[in-house]
């Protein structure tokens, strides 16, 4: 096969599914104009703000050194101060078992490990690249529990009510409710269809045949931190799934609200190169970290 043959093959493949080009220029034009206007305003305001900012920083920095950020609850801050990578799996596992009680039998062993983005497993040697922690429990071959902790400075941005409304309207979710928490965070409870594949669970569009259902409670904390507790059950209908859940919404809600479920991000300067991650062929495998600058 020549280069031209491959080009033809790829173009045929792309063009075969191409939907009509109905994009409007108004969206990017308006967004671009907003950015330009904002930059001009910022440019003018910057010089005025600089003096005030410097003065403010001189007052705030000593407070941060003394007591940490003001948004972090005291108990969570204490857990963070005591964080130890070596013992955290036991802390994490104990919190999960405390919250779930008998719903998580002692005989079920969990796998608790740092991950990339909550899903991708990296070898222990690549710990510096991880940015999340994940606990997985195989309750049975047809029932799996996953708990993910993830730092995310944008975790509590956006309107959770709108998030639910849009996902219910477009059919991606069967149920979705959002409620404000006392600590300023938000808990979102969702149920949606998924399919289990070699590389993990995948959400399904409205009309896809369901073989599994997922139910999760997502705690978006006000201090830039997210915790997701999710159970998957094998079921062909929502009614069947509702009969099979091993956990309750209340248990998952308690679990994701635990102040002990916080962790420190790994230290190290390994992120300086343009990394890419070669994903494993299965969800049990480890991804490979590749530094693009070294591929020559």
């Amino acid at each position: 096969m020549s280069a031209d043959d491959l080009r033809t093959l790829i173009r045929t493949d792309v063009l075969a599914d191409e939907p009509p080009f109905a994009m409007s220029g108004s969206r990017w034009r308006e967004a671009g104009a907003r950015v330009v206007r904002r930059r001009r305003r910022v440019h003018v305001a910057t010089s005025l703000v600089a003096v005030g900012f410097l003065a403010g920083a001189l007052m705030i920095v000593p407070r941060l050194h003394a007591g940490g950020g003001t948004d972090m609850p005291a108990e969570a801050q204490r857990a963070l101060d005591e964080f130890d990578r070596g013992t955290f799996p036991q802390v994490f596992d104990a919190e999960v078992r405390n919250a779930l009680g008998d719903s998580l039998p002692e005989s079920v062993e969990g796998r608790v490990e740092p991950t990339l983005g909550g899903w991708t497993r990296l070898r222990p040697a690549d710990y510096a690249y991880t940015d999340a922690w994940t606990a997985t429990y195989e309750l049975s071959p047809t029932d799996r529990l996953v708990v993910m902790l993830q730092h995310d400075q944008s975790a509590n941005e956006g309107d959770p009510q709108r998030y639910c409304r849009e996902n219910l309207e477009n059919g991606w979710m069967k149920r979705c409710t959002a409620r404000a928490l006392h600590d300023g965070g938000v808990a979102i409870s969702e149920v949606y269809k998924v399919r289990h594949t070699a590389v993990g669970f995948r959400p399904l569009a409205q009309d896809g045949p369901a073989t599994w259902y997922a139910r999760q409670v997502y705690n978006r904390r006000d201090h830039g931190f997210g915790v997701v507790a999710r159970e998957y059950v094998k079921a062909t209908s929502l009614a069947e799934a509702d009969r099979l859940w091993a956990t309750t919404d209340a248990q998952l809600g308690t679990l994701v609200a635990s102040p002990k479920l916080v962790y420190r991000m790994p230290k190290g300067g390994k992120r300086s190169c343009d990394t890419t991650y070669l994903l494993p062929a299965s969800d049990e495998g480890f991804a490979r970290v590749v530094c693009e600058n070294t591929l020559n």
Binding site: A3, M23, W28, G32, A33, V35, R37, G117
Partner: protein, 164 residues
Amino acid sequence: MESTARAPELDDYFAARGPALRRTAYLILQDWHIAEDMVQTTFVQLYVAWPRIRNDLDAYARRTLVNACLTHLRKRRRERLMPETPETVAATEPDRLDLTGALRQLSPQQRAVVALRFLDDLSVAETAAALDVAEGTVKSQTSRALANLRQLLPDLEVEEEMLR
């Protein structure tokens, strides 16, 4: 005033190059909706940077688009979910979708190289400029991508001249 002046010129460029940029984004992302989002993101940046890039628009647009796509994939690593399993694909449309399935198995960077070289028909140097990497990196990524495609599609026999 400057903002209103840049819009008509960019409008023309959008009408002329929008579909092709969307195809490039699709090949990298494997999702038409996200591809459209990335094209929108790209044009917002083109609009903002217009005064300094108008003489080198194509290269800037490609580079911005590919960066947006790769950044999107990095951020959404495991949330970027394949709409079909390879088995399902093979069972439904064996002739055409084998290539689709194989492309999805490539790393995002390799798909970007394939998109720029075999869809957009760029040279190694142009691809390197669009990806902001060395030409050697493009060659090695092309070689790896083709090796992976050969492995996934045994019928695909690729001549070595493609690597140059």
